[in-house]
């Protein structure tokens, strides 16, 4: 098990800069999720740690040792890829044995057998051991490739969107399994995904990547409740945080296009007074109730079973609010709403940075 540190990593592919000045620290035994969109540099980060790519600048430490000159084999990491990369023409058992067979490792045959059996038991693929890999379903293949990672007892598990090629049900099941596996093994996991639900539900810590820069790291709660900027605010949560432009006038939020006014809690820095701001509010912190101060029209209703998601239009501002499923609402109906003044976040309109983080 290992502690990983990336220091000031920059990676360029020709003209294109994939990562710029990335600093990242993953504690021993932590489940770290790197969240970002396609092209944000998630996979590059993984490949750099795995030793499949060399950084243009910066250093990588595993357990405090600079591994810059080490090849993939020496770093002793396991990598699970989205496309499974099982060795074709071999059975599941042969695939699981593969990493133990090279002479470099010198694993006793009895131990190979035992480790394969244990991995198969953990992942519930014992009945598949003698099957050829091309006769497996997607979920089974991904289990085998995870199995191939765990038989080795590597120092770090790197996972590159291992669940994204699977269907929704299976994804959910494997999500839980992976998290359990990580806790059982006590291993360090670096998990890369573009799916914020995976990030929120699995990660001990989340790092949000935006176009090669690490924007924020923190626990899922921190990322959710206190995003560093509007990008992070938009990245997590479904539906995402409402972001509306406005100004602070006398401690109250004045939302520009719709010209509605709502209170904020007292501790907002008065320096923000008068500046163009973006107010961020989570859908669950908007209350739709009779007698609330602002009137809005319901533009859309999405019924999710446990709750309903309303799209409200107040003036020119569009807000999404979650309400209990029991609530009777209809499209084009006029309702009134308020927000939880404690939960409103203020972002600088120009930089997108949260005022809480800035000062």
């Amino acid at each position: 098990m290992a502690h990983i540190q990336l220091r000031n990593i920059t990676k360029k592919f020709g003209e294109h800069t994939a990562l710029r000045g990335l600093d990242l620290e993953i504690a021993d035994g932590e489940f770290f999720v790197l969240l970002g969109q396609t092209g944000a540099g998630k996979t590059t980060t993984l490949r750099l740690i795995a030793g499949l790519e060399k950084p243009t600048e910066g250093q990588i430490f595993i357990d405090g040792v600079d591994v810059g000159d080490w090849g993939a084999a020496e770093r002793d990491v396991a990598l699970v890829l989205q496309q499974y990369s099982l060795y074709p023409r071999y059975t599941v058992r042969e695939n699981l044995e593969f990493p133990l067979k090279p002479k470099l490792r010198r694993v006793e045959p009895a131990e190979i057998k035992e480790r394969v059996a244990r991995a198969a038991r953990t992942l519930r693929i014992e009945h598949l051991l003698d099957r050829k890999t091309d006769r497996l379903s997607g979920g089974e293949m991904q289990r085998v490739s995870i199995g191939r990672a765990i038989v080795r007892k590597p120092r770090v598990f790197l996972m590159d969107e291992p669940l994204s090629a699977l269907d929704a049900k299976l994804r959910e099941a494997l999500r839980t399994e992976l998290k359990n596996l990580q806790m059982t093994l006590g291993a360090t996991f670096l998990f890369v995904t573009h799916d914020q639900i995976e990030a929120m539900s699995m990660g001990d810590k989340i790092g949000v990547l935006d176009r090669g820069r690490l924007v924020q790291t923190g626990t899922p709660q921190e990322i959710y409740n206190n995003p560093r900027n509007t990008f992070v605010a938009r990245s997590v949560g479904s539906p995402p945080m409402n972001l509306v432009e406005g100004r602070l006038v006398g401690g109250r939020a004045v939302v520009a296009p719709g010209n509605f006014e709502l209170p904020l809690n007292g501790q907002v820095a008065s320096a923000a007074e008068g500046r163009p701001l973006i107010f961020g509010i989570r859908p669950e912190d908007i209350f739709v109730e009779p007698g609330a101060p602002i009137a809005a029209m319901i533009h859309d209703v999405e019924n999710h079973g446990v709750e309903k998601i309303l799209t409200l239009v107040a003036g020119e501002a569009t807000l999404r609010a979650t309400v209990p499923a029991r609530m009777n609402v209809a499209v084009d109906e006029t309702v009134s709403f308020a927000w939880n003044p404690e939960k409103v976040l203020l972002f600088d309109s120009a930089s997108g940075l949260s005022l809480r983080h800035a000062g």
Partner: protein, 301 residues
Amino acid sequence: MTTAVMATLDPKSRAAARGMSDLAIRNLFIIPTIAFLIIFNVFPLIYSLGYSFTDFRASMNAPARFVGLANYRELLNDPFIWSNFVITAKYVIISVVGQVLVGFGVAMLLNRTIPFKGLITTLLLLPMMLSMAVVGLFWKLLYSPNFGIINHALGLGTFEWLSDPDMALYAVAIVDIWMWSPFVMLLSLAGLSAVPKHLYEAAAIDRAGPLYTFFRITLPLVAPILMIAIIFRTMEAFKTFDLAFVLSSQPTTEVISIRLYKMAFQQWQTGMSCALAYIMLIMVLAITNIYVKYLNKVKER
């Protein structure tokens, strides 16, 4: 199946407008080919089978006399014929092994990003586009003990590549290797570039060494296509004629097809040579069959 395909002729198509039915179009395409094949392949094949049981000589007017299996019996008991087969076998093994080693090796070298890769590949393919007879003639010059560039470059003095009875077969095989390695290279390259890159990465992560990766990943994945190259080259090498004929007239390079040629067109033993041709045909079929069986096994795995 066939009827389903044929039923789909678009009624508005030009062929349909001309009043051609599906059947007519099919016949238009197929009948000339079949006729050609029957006249030039199937008919001689069967006709020569008939001759192989006679003592027919094309140079004489005497009618063919049926002799049963006598030709076959005589051929298979002839120690000279057997030595021709041994020479052929030796030649096939040397040249096919050589071609696979060189061709696959070059393919491995080319299977990466290098500058001018396309140009290099094209240039390497040139030998196999030449005519066998031309290749034979200019290699004869290259091998020449007096002014040949090979002896000059290797500093071998007046070493006689083609007149030395022990060397001649190797010399012919070297030319064959030179000429046909590109073919093996081309197929190997196709096989190698089809191996997904992420498998190599996974193997690197799994701490597999280069040899282990080669034997456990590269080779099994390229094996089927390499096998096809080997089948082709074995068949070709088995019936090789022009190269050996042009390059050398040593008894040690008398592969079976040269023997057949001499028997048929110098000694005019037409019936006997038909029998020999049939023996060759059966051997090539048998060898190919073994390969194809193996190929299917490799593909299944």
